[in-house]
């Protein structure tokens, strides 16, 4: 079954075709980073305007690059949430009406389920069950993943998400947008160990996180008398190390508690090199394994949506009878259920 996947939840327009037998056939991405850069953050109205301007051509190009016609597509999957309401509506309107006109089924997909399952698209995929560490701009969650739609939340951030902490700290250090990757780059040039930053909740004996205090600690450093801007790289390195240490310790604790030897890392912060190095080392020592999405699938993309939809289609799930353009800007991942067989 060939599934067209459409992602428009935030600031990337993504389209892909996933074949439940042959794998990923093609995918295309248009990033809006440049569009929003001069505003210092994503402007929702501009994001929606760009999605609708790009999406139809992106769909055509995605089909063409796999030498497919509309008639070859057997189903559509699109991100129905969570995300920016207006941006989600673009994908939902195009996807649902495409399905209506082509007379094929359309499934709404949860954006984070897409991220969570995206490591399964790699050449050496993890097998269920596993522990997943979801670290993005809006989420920091540890969960047990027993199968598609079978997720148990083990712990999450009580305040800022890890990516949000990176972004806010980058702003404190005067770095441009988007801040997280720039802060990580700066940290590579610095030496950790000079600034004593807290390791929030490291010893809380649960799997929850807290990152807002860390940001405040950085604020205190940069607003003190003794602050020298030339120390920014060292401070960035200390900040990064604090985040990585906590993420790593809690991920390992989750694996240990669940008795699972496989960890899957998903979400934008999963691209962080220091995090990967530390997770790889810590798991290798114990004979455990970490799986990451392919680098090109770490950001928002259509492939993960086509894939998640494809898995649900393949398991027999079919859409509700009545087609509608319906989005869920807030949609807890834990509301998902395994594929509902029609």
């Amino acid at each position: 079954m060939k599934v067209l996947g459409i992602e428009t939840s935030c600031d990337e327009t993504g389209v892909a075709v996933y074949d439940t037998e042959a794998g990923l056939l093609s995918h295309r991405l248009h990033s809006q980073i440049e569009l929003h850069a001069e505003y210092g953050g994503v402007v929702p109205e501009l994001a929606s305007r760009d999605h609708i301007r790009r999406l139809p051509l992106l769909i055509r190009q995605t089909l063409a690059s796999a030498a497919l016609e509309v008639g070859d597509i057997d189903g559509v999957a699109y991100t129905a949430g969570p995300g920016l309401a207006g941006a989600l509506l673009v994908g939902a309107s195009v996807a649902e009406s495409f399905g209506l006109a082509a007379d094929i089924p359309v499934l709404p997909v949860h954006h984070l389920e897409g991220h969570l399952l995206s490591p399964l698209l790699s050449a050496d995929p993890p097998a269920f069950p596993f522990i997943a560490l979801l670290v993005s701009g809006g989420h920091t969650q540890l969960m047990r993943v027993a199968g598609v739609g079978d997720y148990t939340l083990l712990g999450e951030s009580l305040d800022d998400a890890a990516g949000e902490a990176f972004d806010k700290t980058a702003k404190l250090l005067g770095l441009g947008y988007p801040g997280g990757p720039q802060l990580a780059r700066l940290a590579e040039q610095g030496q950790a160990g000079r600034f004593r930053l807290p390791r929030p909740m490291l010893h809380s004996h649960d799997l929850d996180f807290s990152f807002s205090g860390l940001k405040t600690a950085v604020l205190n450093v940069v607003s003190s008398e003794a602050w020298q801007p030339r120390d920014a790289a060292d401070l960035a390195a200390d900040f990064q190390q604090a985040v990585v240490e906590v993420l790593c310790a809690k991920a390992l604790a989750a694996m240990k508690a669940a008795g699972l030897k496989t960890l899957v890392v998903a979400g934008g912060v999963g691209a962080n090199r220091a995090l990967r190095l530390q997770l790889d080392a810590a798991t290798a020592k114990r004979g455990w394994r970490v799986h990451y999405p392919e680098p090109e699938l770490c950001t928002d993309n259509g492939a993960m949506i086509a894939f998640a939809g494809g898995l649900r289609f393949a398991a027999g799930e079919r859409p509700a009878q009545v087609p509608a353009v319906r989005v869920k800007p807030r949609w807890p991942l834990m509301e998902l259920r395994p594929p509902q067989v029609a």
Partner: protein, 229 residues
């Protein structure tokens, strides 16, 4: 010729199906429900006419100005149907569709743009033809200027800002109709001759007429106004 048309630029949205000379239209009651109801309504409209999406010649849609999210709903649905059915789309000026309801002569179509502003454009209506006299703009209601002539004023702006508009420009109007909104029926009627004339575009070329283009301040602008980065 079968043309499906969509108009969701304001609260009273509608869709219509033109088959030959005959137009059937359906209203989508309630603002929050447009997106919930639109596909179901399209499916029944097509089913009642005994046709499928691929039997359509084109999808026309009111491309604005109007509520941004509403415009994108019509545009996105038009694009999706067009891609899925392998047909073209035709964006139609929502204010022209509104003006067509005004009858012969000079018509000023003006809708409430919120924030004390109005979207407006002037048209000459002759039978089923609507020719623009000046193109759509967005200005404060209190700053709307209108050239000499006998105008019919039509649209929600006259309900939202009656005193401002009629007080300043009252003597230019031969009549006011504040209750009309852009409708899919007129979108279809304006589209029909243009579909025949080969003016459809591919879905990726379907552009919206937002008119209001400044929607956020850049970091530099915020700083210049004494704000934070």
């Amino acid at each position: 010729m079968n043309v499906l048309s969509l108009e969701t630029s304001c609260e009273q949205a509608s869709i219509a199906l033109l088959c030959g000379q005959d137009v059937r239209s359906v209203s989508l009651e309630g603002h929050s429900n447009h997106s919930e109801r639109i596909l179901q309504s399209i499916a029944s409209l097509l089913a009642d006419a005994g046709i499928r999406a691929r039997d359509l010649s084109a999808v026309a849609f009111g491309c604005g100005p109007g509520a941004f999210t509403g415009l994108r709903l019509a545009c996105g649905v038009a694009q999706g149907i067009a891609l899925g059915a392998g047909i073209g789309v035709l964006p139609i000026d929502s204010l022209a569709a509104l003006a067509l309801q005004g009858g012969e002569g000079k018509v000023l179509a003006a809708t409430d743009a919120r924030m004390e502003e109005v979207y407006f454009a002037g048209f000459q209506v002759r039978g089923s033809r609507v020719s623009p006299l000046f193109e759509a703009r967005c200005v404060p209601a209190a700053a709307l200027e209108l050239m000499e002539g006998e105008w019919l004023g039509i649209g929600s702006a006259f309900r939202a800002y009656p005193d401002v508009l009629q007080g300043r420009l009252g003597e230019r109007f031969r009549g006011i109709d504040a209750d009309k909104v852009p409708r899919a029926e007129e979108v279809a009627r304006l589209a029909a001759p243009r579909v025949l004339g080969g003016e459809c575009v591919s879905p990726e070329e379907a552009a919206l007429l937002y008119v209001r283009d400044k929607v956020a301040y850049t970091t530099a602008e915020r700083l210049a106004r004494g704000g934070k980065a």
